[in-house]
């Protein structure tokens, strides 16, 4: 079994090898004629009926500006966040299938929407709370698996119609077009030759994947995005992976096969491909990079892939195609690192900081180019120099599961590979082993995370548009609700029954830009959080500010802006006293007798300089609760005595930032 883990981890890392032969999107394939719903309308679920018109992408400023008599009129802003996972591998990913995963995209999607399934290791499993949406993102490399579908296959050619079509295809463009028309008509009229729907010649895996997404996409109830992962491991394991998320449906997605790293490992080529894709199909796609922490200094490098200086065009392209960054998942968090943020007492959290994906050790300086916070700060500097900020991204969270199970709950953690599904020994085994000193232990796996999207409704288009305008936040797993608005006129009175009303009326939401600062005014922020009803109370909300110092160097400062148990906690030497800890590790339980279920505050930047670029985001911390290792110990009745193994965790959320630029 150990051998297997090594082998598959290498596959995950390398995913290289010879060019695979993806199955052609065989035109003769029995494409499903099932109803394909196009660009689902806004559903109104969770929103007011006052306006069900679609909100134009990237313009939250129109959400609520004109208070009239009716308090509900015009209230068409997002009223609830939709929780989902933008990063799921199933048995159809070559490394997942190779490691024995048996759950394909259909089982994975069913699990995400709340159905019970049987895991690869034979254990029944169900999510504590269903997700609102999911994107199955199997690796594009070697996706075409049923590759024996040969165009000139003799069995196919035995059918006279197919033979004739084939000859027409080869007979020049006019004839070929005629053949296509005939074929389309035959398919529409269900008059395809029987052999054409023979499963042995059926479909590419991509077409099958998109069919499954289509089947389970139920606007208003559950969104199944079409997606894939482009898995670039430059230089042998420097993680530059990106998940590609489609706004559109199968009809557009099927027109072009996913981009693979056999074509290129350079993200710039991916962006070119995305540009081409949009031009060809008229659809829309975006990319979400992940695991900066495993990129050995390359995820947020201050040079291009080939080592050249950044240009404005490069910065524009990155910002355009990559509106979000996955800051937490099962392979650790990439939000902040203690060596970069020495004053941040909570940065040393779920760190995977020793090497890249193949655990090639890091060299000094690499970590500074791997974490979101540092990149947000560096983005300000690049913007000052080039006039464009490449790192203007919002926050996402995903699982990166490789067994089809988006089970990121601490008490329901099914881990990353089938071999690490619940078993008494999984904590002490090697999760990855690339040789001496290049090992990641089982206990280091992180039970995380999800993306919360502030969309006007639960449809592909609405969620995607919200991702594009970065109105999202990442969580380590719990479904806490977090609002974060910036403006110049928020006052304590705005911390009302519905912060969103004041939030959208007087400011901009997470992911947006502050307008120009009125003379003499500093930015104010309205921030609020509500606990996950099944998880811990809230410890505190922090606002993290990054800016450019007088010397042009990026700076950061953390502010505790509101906290639970207000009457008993104090700021001592500039630090808020800890919330405490009620966890009983032996039984893996805790009590919500500390912290608060809900926190809301208005905070004004005390050090604002209108001449200086700045970026602000919020981080919400829960009180300590049992980590998955504690649930394992309690369930399997094992002793975990290694002091390195954390048995409690402080779950958290990070919001997308709000930016300020001098005019």
């Amino acid at each position: 079994m150990r051998q297997l883990v090594i082998g598959t981890a290498f596959l995950a890392a390398a995913c290289g090898g010879p060019q695979s032969t993806p199955a052609p999107a065989a035109p003769t394939a029995g494409q499903p004629s099932a109803a394909v719903q196009l660009g689902g309308p806004p559903t109104g679920v969770g929103t007011s009926t006052a306006d069900t018109g679609e909100i134009k992408p990237a313009d939250p400023t129109t959400f609520y500006k004109t208070p009239g008599y009716s308090p509900y009129a015009g209230r068409n802003y997002p009223e609830r966040p939709y929780f989902g996972d933008e990063h799921v591998h199933t048995a159809w990913s070559v490394d997942a299938g190779g490691s024995g995963a048996t759950l394909g995209p259909e089982e994975a999607t069913r699990f995400a929407r709340g159905d019970e399934v049987t895991s690869t290791s034979g254990q029944p499993v169900k999510l504590g709370q269903p997700l609102d949406w999911v994107a199955i993102t199997d690796h594009s490399d070697m996706m075409g698996m049923i590759s024996e579908i040969k165009g000139g296959n003799p069995e196919m050619m035995a059918d006279p119609t197919i033979k004739r079509w084939r000859e027409m295809f080869n007979g020049g463009p006019v004839e070929a077009k005629k053949a296509v028309m005939e074929l389309v008509a035959a398919q529409a009229n269900k008059k395809l030759p029987p052999i054409a729907s023979d499963p042995r010649f059926a479909k590419s895996v991509w077409a099958k994947t998109t069919t499954i997404a289509e089947k389970y996409n139920e606007p208003g109830r559950f969104t199944a995005f079409i997606g894939y992962e482009w898995t670039s491991n430059a230089g042998g394991g420097d993680n530059l992976h990106r998940n590609i998320i489609y706004r559109d449906n199968k009809d557009k997605a099927d027109r072009v096969l996913p981009f693979t790293t056999f074509q290129s490992e350079n993200p710039e080529d991916l962006w070119k491909w995305m540009t081409e894709w949009e031009k060809t199909t008229g659809g829309k796609i975006l990319a979400i990079p992940h695991n900066g922490n495993l990129s050995n200094g390359r995820m947020f490098a201050l040079t291009t892939f080939s080592g050249d200086p950044l240009t404005k065009a490069w910065a524009d392209a990155r910002r355009r195609w990559e509106p979000l960054f996955e800051a937490i998942q099962m392979k650790g968090q990439s939000e902040s690192h203690p060596s970069l943020s020495p004053t941040d007492d909570f940065a040393a959290y779920e760190l995977w900081d020793r090497g890249n994906l193949t655990q090639t050790p890091k060299k000094p300086g690499m970590i500074a180019r791997e974490y979101a916070r540092e990149a947000l700060k560096n983005g300000l500097r690049i913007e000052q120099d080039l006039g464009s900020n490449p790192f203007k991204f919002g926050m996402a969270g995903g699982t990166d599961t490789h067994n089809g199970l988006v089970a990121a709950e601490e008490d329901n953690f099914f881990a990353k590979f089938p071999s690490a599904e619940p078993r008494p020994d999984r904590w002490e085994e090697d999760a990855m082993n690339f040789g001496p000193n290049r090992i990641v232990k089982g206990w280091e796996m992180t039970a995380a995370g999800y993306t919360a999207v502030w969309a006007t409704g639960n449809t592909r288009a609405e969620l995607w548009d919200a991702m594009m305008r970065r109105e999202t936040y990442a969580t380590s797993g719990p479904r806490m609700i977090v609002r974060f608005f910036g403006g110049y006129d928020f006052t304590q009175a705005d911390a009302t029954r519905s912060p969103a009303v004041a939030g959208y009326a007087k400011g901009v939401p997470m992911g947006a830009d502050l307008p120009a600062a009125p003379a003499g005014k500093a930015p104010t922020f309205l921030v609020a959080a509500l606990k996950d009803r099944y998880s811990g109370n809230l410890d505190r909300i922090q606002i993290i500010k990054g800016w450019l110092g007088k010397d042009g160097m990026p700076q950061e400062k953390l502010y505790d802006v509101v906290w639970g148990d207000k009457d008993r906690r104090r700021i001592v030497n500039g630090k808020l006293t800890p919330v405490g800890n009620t966890v009983d590790v032996a039984t893996a339980t805790w009590t919500n007798t500390i912290g608060d279920p809900e926190l809301v505050a208005v905070w004004k930047d005390p050090d604002f300089d209108p001449a200086v670029r700045a970026v602000y985001y919020a981080r919400v911390l829960e009180i300590p609760t049992p980590r998955w290792t504690a649930y394992d110990a309690a369930y399997f009745k094992i002793k975990i005595t290694d002091p390195k193994v954390p048995m409690t965790t402080q779950e958290r959320a990070f919001t997308s930032p709000i930016w300020y630029s001098p005019q």
């Binding site: 190779g98 000139g152 060809t280």
Partner: protein
């Protein structure tokens, strides 16, 4: 030493070494064989794949590259198979297993369900397709539901104010919960407020402020303005879901049936023993 001998890595290395030796031994005769023909069909396939991936025809050099890598794949693959390298390879095995399972599943997918299939399936799975109650309601959050004189006071004051027609906007405690939900199914209400709250909405009188009603967060005043009661499913309304579930079940059964059938054609004898503990 004993531990070392049990180490799979060592086995792997030894096997590798043996294979390498065997290869050296047999290769002068066994290798170099065979003919690789690039038929029009194969070439067209390579081009089709290129077009599907890149959205355009390959250039001359790209075409050469496609052919070259096809040939390289083919030669190395054939040489590997000649040595039996595919045999004890778990990854290859699983990949092939996946293919055959997919084919079994696809076989099942070729038959579309009839009306009778769907009606029978729906009848057998009423609960799964039941249409939940649908609500439109507003709520005012009062706070934690622990009993106490202060809470009772707030509850009373809020209730009276609401019944007098005071704007709910100004009442209650701040909350991030939606203060209004429109034509929302009970299970989605439960996702936000908890199942107890959703169940209470089924009983609440329509058009009146009532409370306190408990959610997972505390107590609320609630006014349901519209309610469609839960109903037994009609095929027309849930057709897509029924088709999907029917197909899914059939697909999984097909996969298992195919295996069971094949298993029946094999004789498995376990000629080894191993002491184990526990269940």
């Amino acid at each position: 030493m004993r531990k070392l001998l049990g180490e799979p890595m060592l086995h792997f290395l030894l096997i590798g070494l043996a294979l390498f030796g065997a290869y050296r031994w047999v290769s002068p005769r066994a290798s170099g064989g065979g003919r690789i023909v690039i038929t029009q069909g194969i070439l067209d396939d390579l081009v089709t794949q290129h077009v599907a991936a890149r959205g355009r025809e390959p250039s001359t050099s790209e075409l050469h590259h496609l052919i070259e890598s096809y040939v390289r794949d083919e030669i190395l693959y054939r040489e590997g198979v000649r040595l039996g390298l595919e045999r004890d390879d778990l990854v290859v095995k699983r990949r092939v297993r996946q293919k055959i399972e997919m084919i079994a599943e696809e076989d099942a997918a070729t038959r579309a369900p009839t009306e009778a299939d769907l009606s029978a399936y729906l009848l057998a799975n009423q609960a799964r397709f039941a249409r939940p109650a649908v609500f439109t309601f507003e709520q005012v959050f009062i706070g934690e539901s622990q009993p106490g004189p202060a809470v009772v006071h707030v509850v009373t004051i809020t209730g009276e104010a609401l019944r007098r027609g005071v704007d709910p906007e100004g009442l209650g405690k701040p909350t991030l919960l939606p203060h209004r939900m429109t034509t929302t199914p009970a299970d989605l209400v439960a996702r936000d407020f908890g199942p107890v709250f959703a169940a209470a909405l089924e009983q609440a009188p329509v058009g009146e402020w009532v409370g306190p009603i408990d959610s997972s967060f505390g107590a609320h005043y609630v006014r349901v303005s519209d309610r469609t009661p839960a109903a037994a499913p009609q095929l027309a309304a849930v057709r897509d879901q029924v088709v999907r579930e029917w197909e899914n079940e059939r697909r999984q059964r097909a996969r298992n049936d195919a295996y069971t059938k094949m298993r029946g054609e094999y004789q498995v004898s376990i000629e080894a023993t191993r002491a184990t503990e526990g269940r």
